[in-house]
Amino acid sequence: MLEITNLHASIEDEEKEILKGINLRVGAGEVHAIMGPNGSGKSTLASILAGRDGYEITQGSINFEGDDLLEMDPDERAREGLFLAFQYPVELPGVNMSTFLRHAVNSVREHRGQDELSAVDFLKLMKEKAGLVHLDPSLKSRAVNEGFSGGEKKRSEIFQLAMLEPKLAVLDETDSGLDIDALRIVSDGVNQLRSPERSFVVITHYQRLLDYITPDFVHVLVDGRIVKSGGKDLALKLEELGYDWIKEDAVVA
């Protein structure tokens, strides 16, 4: 599904390297958690996967379903089945939620050789998927993310994920700022969307989210490198001991 090989990246026009040789292999249906302290490069990795401007890839490659991901525009990546749930979803005043999503869904469908959804089928789909994360159906007439609470914004991201049915979803700190109820709703939504064909990369600072979304693999990112990988127990150990023991380990290694 996804294969990252020796990825080095820096912020455009800056010398400082943020990612210093990432290697990661995500198979179909797997859930990988990437944990790490602030400034370790987690969000940079998410941004680079989705194709955000402003980064320079100095070395390495990313292969997605057999294609060179780095060659694709952000919209092309999305149509190929990559989805990023934003840490800070952007408010789009004046852009109507259902117009936006209908356009997005039909772009993806067209790419997959499927017919456009009719207005009726689209509304039906919206209603069904909004239910997954307990979103008020009236949101369809609102502007995208505008005036949404923090929790609503995150739920809206998972709702969009459900609408677009990607092959690989990258959740960038989807748990940050959520109270326990919202966290449960978001996690329930994600769990219902898990399938043998769909993979997840869950980026998080805290282990809390992983109580609800059980990962197959946990990777620890420190200073631009994955310094440790393991099963879900690794997350628990991190919760207990913090990141310092890993950093020391990394230095020793």
Binding site: A50, G51, R52, D53, D73, P74, D75, R77, A78, R79, F83, L84, F86, P89, V90, L92, P93, G94, V95, T99, F100, L101, H103, A104, S107, V108, H111, A143, Q160, L164
Partner: protein, 435 residues
């Protein structure tokens, strides 16, 4: 004064040569006063603060010699299509080169007490003549004076007290001149107490010749009347359009106007609002799309002389490819005008670094118990927003269009006639997506 061949001298000579001939007595006097004021004021000099970013003297000097009185208007085979609004059930008035075209217009079914007149045929109509002598001294302006000095063609809309005009009035103004010309249409709207009317103006050009349109619209809105006005200006690159609008309101009236400018040439919209009574509502808005060297200048003055009034101003625009936008909006609250609520906002998106936006909001307040605000922002398209849409699979050009339409939506939402809104939406979409 400038040299003999300047447009000013030629206009003055032309006026002299016509004086006394085609003009009737009463109008002659007001025209004579207007030409005197035009001569005194002169076409604004390059150092004029009010014309700082639209150097009109230089613009006019660059134009070829203009035919001041274009003759021989030929409407055979004239295509009204571009200025027709699909689905708009309206009374229709057609002005070609400023001149009322009775055979192309259709105002049947007007209610009793509402009249739509060819100005040329109405120079002895008492109601028309009485209102043709633009009154507001604050709003004196060389181009408005020039229009008044030559006033002859255009349309008068007279609505008696208590009359509700049931359908909108569509005024299609087409400039067809095949050689460089000056066109000076006049629009007069006189709305009696508690009357209601909706006006939609569409200004377009059919030829490719360089033309100067010096339009002047005056609206007199009496107590309790509710007037809604939209003006769409869509002209070719060789057109220069000066559009003076004066709105006089009596107490308790409601006047809305929305000026949509998508011209490829030079446009100066100069709108002055004088809510001259308590409890007036004034809604003024505008949208500008300046592409490929267009120059669009919106100049507004809201002169609050009376207390307890409300005004709300919103101008937004998009600029790209060597274009210039100007906004200069002044809100004046005079000393006795207490309890005024006046809001003003100007927002522009400049899509590339070859275009410029000059925004100058001015708030001048002499009363102490008022609520006023203004704001102006100019920026590029929000890159984070663009990325967000792309990250959902939407192609960059479609995402860009979606954001620009969203940007324009609140000002376009102020257009109340649905077919007009759809027409403007479609026009803007096609202009923005042509690349």
């Amino acid at each position: 004064m400038s040299d003999r061949n300047s447009i000013e001298s030629r206009l003055l000579q032309e006026w002299e040569s016509r004086a006394g001939s085609a003009m009737n007595g009463r109008l002659h006097d007001s025209r004579a006063e207007a030409i005197k004021r035009f001569r005194d004021a002169g076409i604004p000099a390059l150092r004029s603060e009010a014309w700082k970013y639209t150097p009109i003297r230089r613009i006019l000097d660059r134009m070829p010699t203009l035919d001041i009185d274009p003759e021989g208007i030929n409407t055979d085979g004239l295509d009204l299509g571009a200025s027709t609004i699909e689905g708009l059930d309206a009374y229709r008035v057609v002005l070609v080169d400023g001149r009322f075209q009775a055979d192309l217009s259709d105002v049947t079914g007007l209610p009793k007490g509402a009249r739509i007149l060819d100005l040329r045929e109405s120079s002895s109509d008492e109601d028309v003549v009485r209102h043709l002598d633009g009154t507001g001294t604050e709003a004196r302006d060389a181009f408005a004076e020039l229009n008044s000095a030559f006033v002859q063609d255009g349309v008068a809309i007279l609505v008696d007290a208590g009359v509700i005009v049931p359908r909108p009035i569509l005024i299609q103004q087409i400039v067809t001149a095949q050689k460089p010309s000056l066109v000076q249409p006049r629009l007069l709207g006189v709305f009696g107490r508690n009357s209601q009317a909706r006006l939609v103006e569409v200004c377009s050009t059919a030829g490719q010749a360089e033309v100067l349109t010096n339009a002047f619209s005056e609206f007199h809105t009496a107590t309790g009347a509710v007037i809604d006005h939209v003006r769409l200006i869509d002209e070719h690159a060789g057109a220069v359009h000066i559009n003076n609008l004066r709105s006089y309101q009596e107490g308790g009236s409601n006047f809305s106007t929305n000026v949509i400018t998508v011209s490829a040439g030079t446009v100066r919209n100069q709108s002055y609002f004088l809510p001259d009574g308590e409890h007036c509502e004034t809604h003024l808005s505008g949208f500008y799309l300046a592409q490929d060297g267009a120059h669009i200048d919106n100049h507004t003055l809201v002169d609050h002389a009376k207390p307890e009034c409300y005004s709300n101003e919103l101008f937004k625009g998009i600029l790209e490819n060597k274009s210039v936008g100007v906004f200069n909006g002044k809100v004046l609250v005079r000393q006795d005008a207490q309890k005024i609520n006046a809001y003003q906002s100007n927002k522009s998106v400049v899509l590339d670094d070859t275009s410029r936006m000059y925004s100058k909001p001015e708030l001048e307040i002499y009363a102490d118990d008022v609520r006023c605000s203004h704001g102006a922002t100019t920026g590029e398209l929000d890159k984070d927003a663009l990325f967000y849409l792309q990250a959902r699979g939407i192609r960059q050009d479609a995402a860009r269009l979606m954001l620009l339409e969203a940007f324009a939506s609140d000002v376009l939402d102020r257009i109340k006639e649905e077919p007009v809104r759809a027409h403007v939406d479609q026009l803007i979409r096609s202009r923005l997506s042509r690349n």
